[in-house]
Amino acid sequence: MLFNSLDFALFFIVVFACYWMLQRRLFGQNALLLSSSYFFYACWDWKFLFLLVFSTLLDYFSGILIERSTHKKTRLFWLWLSIGCNLGFLGFFKYYNFFIASFQELLSNFGLHASTWTLQIILPVGISFYTFHGLSYVIDVYKKRIIAERNFVDYGLFVSYFPLLVAGPIERATHLLPQLKQKRTFDYQKGVDGLRQILWGLFKKIVIADNCAIYANEIFNNSDHYSGSTLVMGALFFTFQIYGDFSGYSDIALGTSRLLGIELLKNFSFPYFSRDIAEFWRRWHISLSSWFKDYVYIPLGGSKGGKWSQIKNTFIVFLLSGFWHGANWTFIAWGFLNALYFLPLLLLNKNRNHIEIVAKNRVFPSGKELFQICCTFGLTVFAWIFFRADNLSHAFNYIEGIFSSKLFSLPEVRPSNVIVLILFFISIEWFGRKNNYALENFALSWSASFRWGFYIILLISLFIMGSKAQEFIYFQF
C-alpha cells in the first residue's frame, strides 16, 4: 500500500474518521492506530508481520528487564540480547547474500572455489527502520535516558506507527512515546498544515521524482551509449529523483501524522541549498544522521579523543551509513566518498560553520554563498552516481563516460518539460527554505481564491504527470 496510491487514501480516510470518533478515548485511539499499522504492514507481506511483532515483543521485554535488573551484567545481557537479535535479523535478511557473495569473490581471487550458499531471501519492507527504532529504545532504557514502557500498545505503536513504518523518519522514544500518552484533540490549523504537507510531498514524489526517474533510469541503464553531457544530465535527474522521492515520502508521513495530531521528527531541511557537506548532512535524512551520531559516533568517543579519533569515528559513521542503505559495495563507496568530502572540514575545524539556512534574512544568496552551494551540490551529484550505479564498475564506467566524450556538447536527453518542472520546484523550495517544508507558509498571504487556485494546480499536476503508483526508493532499504 503505497502512500501515493488510492488504496492508501481510502485506508487513511477510514482510519482518520474512526480515530477522531474515538477522540476522548486515548487507549482506543492508540489501539486503533496499532491495529491499523499492523494491517498496513500486512498489506505488504503478512508473513513478515510476525517478524515485526516478534521484534517489538523482544525490545519491549528487554526494556522492562533492563530496567528491573540491578546488576550491571544482567542489564548488559538483556541489552546485548536485544541488540544481537535485532542486528541478527537485519544482517540475515539484508546482508547474508552480500557477505556470502563477497566471500566467494574473495576466494575466487585466490583461485579457490566455494559452493553457492546464497539463499532466496526477500527483504522485509521497513526492517532497517523499525530495527533502528527498537535499538534506540533499548539503548535509551539502558542509558537511563527514558523509563521502560509498560504499555504494550503504546510501545508497539512507537515501533509500528504506519506513517513511519516502512521508510521513516527514524523516531526516538523520547520524542514519540510522550505524544502517544497525551490526549489528542483535533486542531484545525494542524489539520490544514498536514494536508498542505501531504500535497507538497505528493508533488515531490509524483511530479518531480517519478518524472526524473524516467530519464535517470534510461541514462543509467544505457550509460555506454550516451555522451558525457547526457551522463551529467542523468546524474542530475537522479539527484532530483532521490530527493523528491525520499523527502516527498517524509513529507507525506509527517503530514499524515499531523492530521492524527502526532508530530514526527523532521527528516529533510532543504539539503541542496547547503554550503558545505557538513551542512548537507545536517539537512539530509536528519533522523538517520542524528541516530548514527547519538548511537555510534558519540559512544565511539565522538570528537573527544582528538583529531585522529574524530576522523576515524566520522569515517566509521559514514561507512555504516552507506552500508545501512544496502548490501552493495556502491553504497559503501558512496559513504566513503562523503566521509572524504567531510575530511577537509574536520581538519580545518569548519564542520559547524553553517548552522542556519543560507541567506536567512535575504531573498537571494551572495555570490560566495551561491558558489558554495554550487560546489556542494556538484559534490553531492557526483556521489549519487555511486548510489545509483548497479555496481562499482558501472559507477566507474559512468564517471569515465562523463569525462571521455562530448562533455560540453548538447545532451541527447533534455526533456524541456521536466527541466521546467525542476526549476519550478527549486524556486518554491528556495522561497520556502526558512520553513519546515517549502509550502508551509507559501501563498498564505495570498487571497484564499489564489491560494486555493495554486493548490488545485498542484493537484492537477499530480493527475497529469503521474502514472501508476511508483514505489519509493527508500522502501528497499
Binding site: 477522531w20 484545525y188 493548490y455 488545485i456 492537477i460 493527475f463 497529469i464 501508476k468
Partner: protein, 300 residues
Amino acid sequence: MKKFLKRLLIFTVLFFVVDKLFYIFIYLSPKYQVDNRIEKLLEGEINKEVIILGSSRGAMNIMANQLEAQTGKSTYNIAFPGSDVTFHDFILKTLLKFNKKPKIIIFALDSPSELLPTASINYRFDRLYPLVKYDYINQELINKGDRNFTSWFLCLSRLNKTNLSLKRNSTKFDNVQPDGSTPLDFENPNFKADYILSVGNYEIKDESDEKRKAFKSILDQCKSNNIKLIFAFSPNFQIYNTAFEKRMRQFKTPNSSFFVYDSLNSSYKDASNFYDESHLNAKGAKIFTSELSNYINLNQ
C-alpha cells in the same frame, strides 16, 4: 473538526468543477492519434472476412489489400507493431464485441518470443490512451491496473500527459495504409545483412503464464465463434526455428491450421527483401503474402 470538513468539502467540490474542464482533452484526443484502427474497431467499422492479428510481423509482413485481391476475400490488418499476445487478445475481444465476426483470422506469430517474456513487445497502453473517451477503453485500463475507479467520475483520472500534448507524434513506422497494413518501404541503414545460421533453444519453462493464458484465450474465442484460425510463421533472416513451430503445434485445435513460409525459397535468404533480421520490407512482404494467399486458396 466541522470547519475542517466543511472547508475540505468546498475544496473538493471546487476541484470537481475544475476537473470537468478537462473533458475537452478527453474529447479531442482521438483526433491526434497516429493510428485510428482501434477506434475503427470500437465504432464497428471492421467487418471483413479475413483479419490479420499479431505484432509487427503481422503488420509489416502481410499486406491485407494484396491478400484480398489474391483470395477474393475482404481483408483487414489489425496487427500492432510492438504489441504482445495479451494485447492481441484484447484486440480480438474488441473486434468480436463491436464488429461482425470474421471467417478467418491469420495470427502472425512472433518466433520465438510469442510466449516468452521480452521487453521488445508489450501491451500497447499508448494506443489506448487517446481513446479514453470510450468507457470500454477506460474499463480495460482499469482492468490492467493502469487506471482506477476514480476515472469513472474524474476527468483528470482518465487522462494521461500524452492526452494534453494535442499533436500527432507520428514516425515513419506509423505508415498505416487504408487496409491496416504497415509496409516498410524504406531502408534500414543499420541492418547487417548477415544470415544467421543458428537458433537458440526453446524452453517451455521460460514462458510467461500471462502470455500463455492470453494465447489460449485467442484460441478459445476463435473456437467458440467458429472462426478458422491460421497460425502464420513468417521468415526471419535466420534459419528456420523448428523448436518454436513444434511448441506452437502443441496448441492445435480443430479449427486451426499452420502456415509456414517456404524455407527453401531463396528470396528469404536475400537481404534485399528484409528490413532487419526479423521483418520483411515491402518487397519481401509481397512475396510472403503471395505464399499465404496460395495457402488460403488451397485450403478453402
